[in-house]
């Protein structure tokens, strides 16, 4: 496809057809402050932080809703643009709580980043926090209305990406807030607790309980639950899964997960995991060493095979195990134990 050339503050940049000024500029490594833009969603033009000047256009259009045209001349760093963005930002932070240090999104917050870029210091303004109490009804995530900047990314994720529309903008203007139909708590709505809205919130207004710890490493793997096989990025800290995100680049799920994959993986670190082999003695399962356990199994299998033939042994492999484990298991049953009886629960 044809590339489109345009300039931003005099610098030549190329865009793909259909790209917005904001997308092409960000892709070129140049930052324009933005909060309601989200690569997965339709352009919205709500926060007005991304305003720019474009030669031949009146006023200050928003970069996220304006498509690049060939030869377009865009200016992002004029005094007028800066002034307008700064006022917009000051209004946004006027009622935003000053608790960045204890916020779970500290250092990862788009609002913080944009405010710092614009040199906005929160303390200059009259404080006017909203008084709505947090929605704590969902077991996995919390909505802190005070930190919400009404960018509607959560609302749009739920309708555009999930096709659900569990939440919407309630009321207008200064009184506006995000909530399910009729202002109910989220737990009483049609919300499916997928958590995708949380992942797209640019501030700490939506946060996952207990996710304040930053992961030390990230590992890509596949969800252990259903046959869709979504790919996920596990955030690991101190040998625990502390964060789970859908992998945006995987063709199956493009970043989406359901509640089980997003919030249901803690079982791996469950206290009651089996940690040693067990052998039944006098009707009780008691701890044993690997040598004791494997020698016992091997000698019993051998004895049964000798007395009754391989067909007296049967094996069930697992729809939860990997291909390699299943391959090896059936090889063991067929070649090692000499039995034709191998199955798993495909049918259930």
């Amino acid at each position: 496809m044809e590339e489109i050339k345009f300039t931003i503050d005099g610098q030549e940049v190329t865009a793909k057809p259909g790209q917005s000024v904001l997308e092409a500029t960000l892709a070129a490594g140049i930052y324009i402050p933005n909060l309601c833009y989200d690569p997965k969603l339709e352009p919205y033009g709500g926060c007005r932080l991304c305003v720019v000047e474009i030669e031949g256009m009146r006023g200050l259009p928003t970069a996220c809703t304006t498509k690049v045209t060939p030869g377009m001349k865009v200016r992002s760093e004029t005094p007028e643009v800066h002034q307008v963005r700064k006022i917009t930002m000051e209004l946004l932070v006027a009622d935003h709580p000053l608790e960045c240090l204890t916020c779970s999104l500290n250092q990862r917050c788009d609002l913080q980043k944009a405010a710092a870029f614009l040199g906005v210091d929160q303390s200059r303004l009259r404080r006017s926090e909203r008084a709505l109490a947090n929605d704590e009804s969902n077991p996995f995530f919390v909505r802190d209305f005070k930190k919400c900047i009404l960018c509607a990314r959560c609302v749009r994720v739920c309708s555009e990406v999930r096709g659900l529309g569990a939440i919407d903008m309630a009321k207008r203007g200064y009184e506006a807030f995000i909530s399910p139909f009729a202002g109910l708590p989220i737990a009483d709505s049609i919300c499916e607790s997928c958590g995708e809205c949380v992942d797209h919130c640019p501030t700490g207004a939506l946060y996952v309980r207990g996710e304040a710890i930053l992961p030390g490493k990230e590992v890509k793997t596949i969800c252990p639950y259903c046959g869709v096989g979504c790919q996920m990025v596990l955030g690991i800290r101190q040998n625990r899964i502390v964060k789970v995100l859908g992998d945006l680049t995987y063709p199956v799920n493009s970043g989406s997960l359901c509640v089980k994959g997003r919030f249901g993986l803690d079982f791996a670190s469950s206290e009651d995991r089996l940690k040693t082999p067990l052998i039944k003695k006098n009707g009780q399962l008691v701890e044993a060493t690997w040598d004791e356990a494997l020698d016992l199994v091997a000698s019993r299998f051998k004895e049964i095979k000798k007395k009754h033939g391989g067909q007296a042994i049967a094996g069930l492999c697992s729809a939860k195990a990997t291909n390699e484990e299943n391959y090896l298991f059936q090889k063991f049953i067929r070649a090692g134990a000499g039995s034709p009886h191998i199955d798993h629960c495909a049918r259930l």
Binding site: E160, G163, L164, C194, T221, I222, Y225, C226, G227, V228, G229, I241, T249, V259, K260, G264, L265, D266, F267, A268, D272, R273, L274, K275, P277, I279, K280, L285, A288, A293, V297, R300, K302, I304, G310, I313, A314, G315, L316, C317, S318, K320, A321, T322, N323, E324, E325, N326, Y327, F329, Q330, A335, G336, G338, P340, H341, I342, D343, C345, R347
Partner: protein, 527 residues
């Protein structure tokens, strides 16, 4: 699946039958939801329950559980009567339509209405909508297979796809959704009694020979027993030793009392798992294995995509990698195995399983590859049967309608059907250990229609006893229009109210799948 998950997004018409897609396969459910909402896809749902996906459906057919074949045959009856079949496709790519015709011809929509309870006019609409679509796909899951005539259900669906030329092209096809994350892979790898890895029949001498040479042993020539047959044989003492890796039949199998008795009777039971499951409690030896987060390897999803599983956590206590346990055991039994990693095992699979020949460790690093993939330059296969079927021509199979093995009667007047819920998974060995999931959905409920509830003087939230010929359990009544009159529904995830105490273990004669979806039951209030 014959086709790919991404194709649902651009689907034209989708016929969903026996799949509660949004709850059992949520990400496919959301693609279908989006296709309907934003791309005008027409969705037809055939399900006795008012499941979530019906909200975006053009048509909801509430057939009585167990009457799917009658419904599908009647749709085909309409298509033929109105001349909507794909004559070219039938002539060029298929054979045997004549044999399938009698069962279709006799099932007029009016007759099907009497059997299924779906108005004849709706059956006509469904038949037309499906046949007139450019690309129509069929989505089904356990609601189709878990019947004593499950094989007929699947054949009838294949007939429908062939009759309308909806195979071998993008956005069409017959798409079974696999339940657990690696059911597809476990089957591909020969975790089945009748086939070796890559679906080579054990009875095929030439195929056996390939494996005998690679593995250096003589292989059994006859198919082995299926899971339910194994348990029966263990109960009778014919099977002396049972080795179970990562499965929990003591909760997932039908007719649990019988299953548990069989496990108890088995002379020597070895269970390899990550938790002391209901099944492990019966074991003579329990071996602690690795969870998904602790292992390297590959999984194959429902669209045949082989993707990488990567180790993120270290193993707890003395737990070991499952492949190492098997290898160690095999060596102690005198059959030598010397792999040093899952990657080496995959290399052997590449050699022996033609569908996986080109699916090597490093090629699937980023996006995975869909089999068949015959060599390392092949990109993988998005949809199957493009130019021809594996067996040449697609064959129509006759599918006369047969009733379920056990129907409601005087003593057990209600029809019990079982299924999955969004917040839980299979026997909840994993989800039951996640606090939030338990809070959202504590489980142990039975859905009952308001009319039935009124007749039994049962109120919403009351404790009831559900009984069948095989057992009884207690549950909380959920009085709801979601189930039709005469039908009750129970999720099967929970140990406290195990629906499978009640279900029927009558088997489909071909696929040997038990009839989990239909049995006769009675409900009464617990004082």
């Amino acid at each position: 699946m014959t086709n790919s998950i991404s194709e649902f997004e651009t689907a034209d018409t989708v016929f969903i039958i026996g799949s509660n897609t949004t709850e059992a396969h949520p990400i496919i459910g959301l693609k279908l939801r989006r296709a309907a909402l934003f791309h005008g896809a027409k969705i037809i749902v055939a399900d006795p329950r008012r499941i979530d996906i019906t909200q975006v459906a053009k048509l909801h057919l509430r057939q009585r559980s167990g009457t799917d074949v009658a419904l599908i045959n009647a749709m085909m009856n309409v298509i033929l009567a109105e001349g909507l079949e794909d004559k070219n496709f039938i002539a060029e790519r298929t054979e045997g339509l004549e044999d399938a015709l009698p069962a279709i011809k006799e099932m007029t929509p009016e007759r099907a209405e009497k059997i299924t309870g779906v108005p004849a006019e709706n059956i006509r609409q469904a038949g037309r909508m499906f046949a007139q679509a450019d690309r129509a796909s069929i989505v089904y899951a356990m609601g189709i297979t878990q019947h004593s005539h499950g094989t007929d259900n699947v054949k009838a669906l294949c007939n429908l796809a062939m009759l309308t030329g909806n195979l071998g092209k993008e956005g069409a096809g017959v798409n079974p959704l696999r339940g657990q994350n690696n059911v597809q892979g476990a089957c591909d790898m020969g975790g089945l009694p009748n086939v070796l890895p890559g679906y080579k029949p054990v009875t095929d001498e030439a195929a056996r020979k390939v494996f005998e040479e690679a593995w250096g042993v003589k292989l059994p020539e006859k198919p082995g027993l299926t899971m339910i047959e194994m348990l029966n044989a263990a109960e009778k003492g014919e099977i002396k030793a049972l080795f179970i890796m990562g499965e929990n039949p003591a909760l997932s199998d039908p007719n649990l009392n019988h299953t548990r008795h069989a496990l108890d009777q088995c002379e020597f039971l070895v269970v390899q798992d990550i938790f002391l499951t209901e099944t492990a409690q019966f074991a003579d030896v329990v071996l602690p294995g690795a969870s998904f987060a602790e292992k390297d390897g590959t999984f194959t999803n429902t669209e045949r995509r082989v993707g990488r599983v990567r180790q993120a956590l270290t193993l707890p206590g003395q737990a070991r990698q499952d492949w190492q346990i098997i290898q160690d055991l095999s060596n102690r039994m005198g059959y030598a195995m010397k792999y040093d990693s899952p990657r080496q095992i995959l290399e052997e699979i590449n050699q022996l399983v033609p569908q996986y020949a080109g699916i090597t460790w490093y090629r699937i690093e980023k996006k995975g590859i869909q089999w068949p993939c015959p060599d390392t330059s092949h990109p993988g296969t998005k949809f199957l049967h493009q130019d021809k079927f594996t067996r040449g021509k697609g064959k129509f199979h006759p599918t006369p309608f047969i009733e379920s093995a056990e129907l409601p009667d005087k003593k057990y007047p209600l029809l019990l059907t079982t299924g999955r819920q969004l917040y839980h998974f299979h026997t909840s060995t994993m989800t039951g250990r996640v606090e939030g999931l338990e809070e959202l959905c504590p489980g142990g409920s039975v859905e009952i229609n308001p009319e039935d509830a009124a007749g039994l003087e049962i109120m919403d939230g009351e404790k009831v006893e559900v009984a069948s010929r095989r057992g009884k359990v207690e549950a909380i009544a959920l009085v709801t229009e979601k189930v039709p009159k005469g039908t009750i529904f129970m999720p099967f995830h929970f140990a406290a109210a195990p629906a499978n105490m009640l279900t029927n273990d009558a088997l489909d004669p071909t696929a040997k799948i038990p009839e989990l979806k239909v049995c006769a039951a009675a409900v009464r209030k617990v004082a």
